[in-house]
């Protein structure tokens, strides 16, 4: 049939599975796929859930499931192409499977749940010592161990220099690699996440500041009649979200303690709103007196930056109508929401829900101030 279209619409899914290296799944599996849901969040682990139709005589229940095709620790790569441009959405491992057998024919389902490749780093508890290594050096050394899953580290030097002094302090890791890397990221105001792609089987592990800069994604339009691309959008301004942390350090020689000055969080996260929200809460960080001054300063900065996002938005969109996939951990413009809430936002998390015939995205946005800084957004 020469004139048969390759696919039936502008959106196509490619699914690959395997133990470490992956292969495209047999056609029975893609035919049985009922829905796939993928959540990607800035600074947190991504997860996925896929549902398959489990017919009694189908290949899934007779052959693939008993052979361990969906066993835990099976690697799954899902990429979606919109209008001929492919994008890897997920590179993860299966953690759990559920079989729901039903009396009604056609209602038995297999549900597979999993997490992204950072799960590998969370499996084993280890203790290790890192003499004379900066936090970024420690992270780079940890991440280098996971190269065989195609994970490429991208580690940034911490903003406040913390030169290691072995004579004074040797840093220890206790717990899993992931918890230690996350702990280091939190102490520096950074985030740690895995970005799948650009080719299937590759992913980048980013340990650095949130990229609140650069080119904006195509704007989300609300309340603009036929030009609206977003189904609904809700904004919230939480006055108590922002807090002003305070930290004291002690000089070991004189035993004098002094209050650290309030850091400027601008360099770590460039402001997106014109009117910054005031900090209503004041909180004292505990345990900073025994730390070195630079370490305490980094923690103070991290805490101030972390709580700065007082304004959050959430909504959903249809990719077919919007025309583009909204990507998490990048900036996006919003228009049509009124003077107060228009402007650029950081996309905090995105949940992709893919079913045959529909591709929905739920997203959350955040920024630290009201009123757009510029009069235009990228359309």
């Amino acid at each position: 049939m020469p004139d048969q279209p390759v696919g039936s619409g502008p959106i196509h899914i490619t699914l690959q599975t395997g133990s470490r290296l992956t292969r495209p799944v047999p056609p029975e599996v893609t035919e049985a796929l009922l829905s796939a849901q993928i959540t990607a969040t800035a600074g947190e682990r991504s997860g996925f859930q896929m549902a398959f139709d489990l017919t009694k005589q189908g290949a899934l229940s007779r052959r693939l499931l008993p052979e361990g095709f969906f066993d835990p620790k099976t690697r799954v790569i899902l990429s979606v192409s919109v209008k001929g441009t492919a994008r890897v959405l997920l590179d993860g491992l299966i953690v759990r499977q559920e079989v729901g057998a039903s009396n009604q024919p056609g209602h038995s389902t297999l549900t597979v749940t999993g997490e992204d490749l950072t799960l590998l780093m969370d499996l084993e508890e280890r203790t290790d010592r890192y003499p004379n290594l900066r936090p970024s050096g420690r992270v780079a050394r940890i991440l280098a161990k996971y190269a065989d899953y195609g994970i490429e580290p991208r580690v940034f030097q911490e903003q406040i220099e913390q030169p290691p002094r072995e004579r004074l302090r040797v840093d220890y890791q206790s717990g899993t690699d992931l918890s230690y890397v996350n702990e280091l990221a939190r102490a520096n105001g950074y985030t740690f996440y895995l970005e799948p792609g650009p080719r299937p089987g590759r992913s980048t592990a980013v340990w650095g500041p949130e990229a609140r800069i650069g080119q904006r994604q195509h704007a989300l339009n609300v309340n603009m009649d036929v030009n609206s691309t977003v189904d609904q959008l809700t904004f919230a301004y939480d006055g108590t979200a922002r807090e002003e942390p305070q930290a004291r350090v002690q000089d070991p020689a004189t035993r004098d303690s002094r209050l650290l000055p309030q850091p400027d969080i601008g360099p770590l996260r460039p402001p997106l709103g014109r009117r910054a929200t005031p900090a209503l809460k004041r909180r004292t960080l505990s345990g900073t007196a025994k730390k070195e001054s630079a370490q305490a300063q980094a923690e103070l900065l991290a805490r101030a930056a972390l709580s700065a996002d007082a304004i959050s938005g959430s909504g959903s969109l249809d990719v077919n109508r919007h025309g583009y996939i909204l990507r998490p951990r990048e900036l996006v413009g919003v228009r049509g929401a009124g003077v107060t809430y228009d402007g650029d936002y950081f996309v905090k998390s995105v949940t992709h829900t893919i079913r045959p015939g529909s591709y929905q995205q739920n997203f959350t946005l955040s920024r630290e101030g009201l009123i757009a800084r510029s009069g235009t957004v990228r359309p």
Partner: protein, 127 residues
């Protein structure tokens, strides 16, 4: 151990600043910098080499055959198969032709349409 990038890189190197969007045929092309005699830097896209055509690429697994009929145009085909007329270059890449008009010049010719998934592999199917 991989290199640790300086902090300034994170916010100075603007992410997503590639001049060509992801759907462009030049997205994977390397961006070169030419220094003029007076010291100004001019950025340019380096020559884009076609992805290698393997034996399997022309096989039915990675592409679908299409018989050209009169009135076909590369952009119309791209709209029909990919949903975006701007993706005609993917068809031109799969059947190496110099001029895209060659694709649909003579009716009755069979050309290969790559699968819309973008990452074709043996046995790949697209839901």
């Amino acid at each position: 151990m991989a290199d640790i990038e300086p902090y300034e890189n994170a916010l100075d190197a603007i992410p997503g600043a590639h001049p060509y969007s992801r759907s462009s045929r030049y997205h994977d092309a390397e961006i070169g910098v030419h220094r003029m005699a007076d010291g100004t830097e001019v950025r340019y896209a380096k020559r884009r080499l076609l992805p290698p055509l393997s034996e399997a690429a022309t096989a039915a697994e990675e592409s679908a055959p299409h018989t050209v009929s009169s009135g076909d145009r590369p952009d119309l085909l791209a709209q029909r198969y990919f949903g975006d007329p701007g993706q005609w270059w993917q068809i031109a890449d799969a059947n190496p032709v110099l001029d895209p008009q060659e694709l649909t010049e003579e009716a009755g010719r069979t050309i290969a349409i790559p699968h819309a998934g973008g990452f074709p592999g043996p046995g790949a199917r697209y839901a």
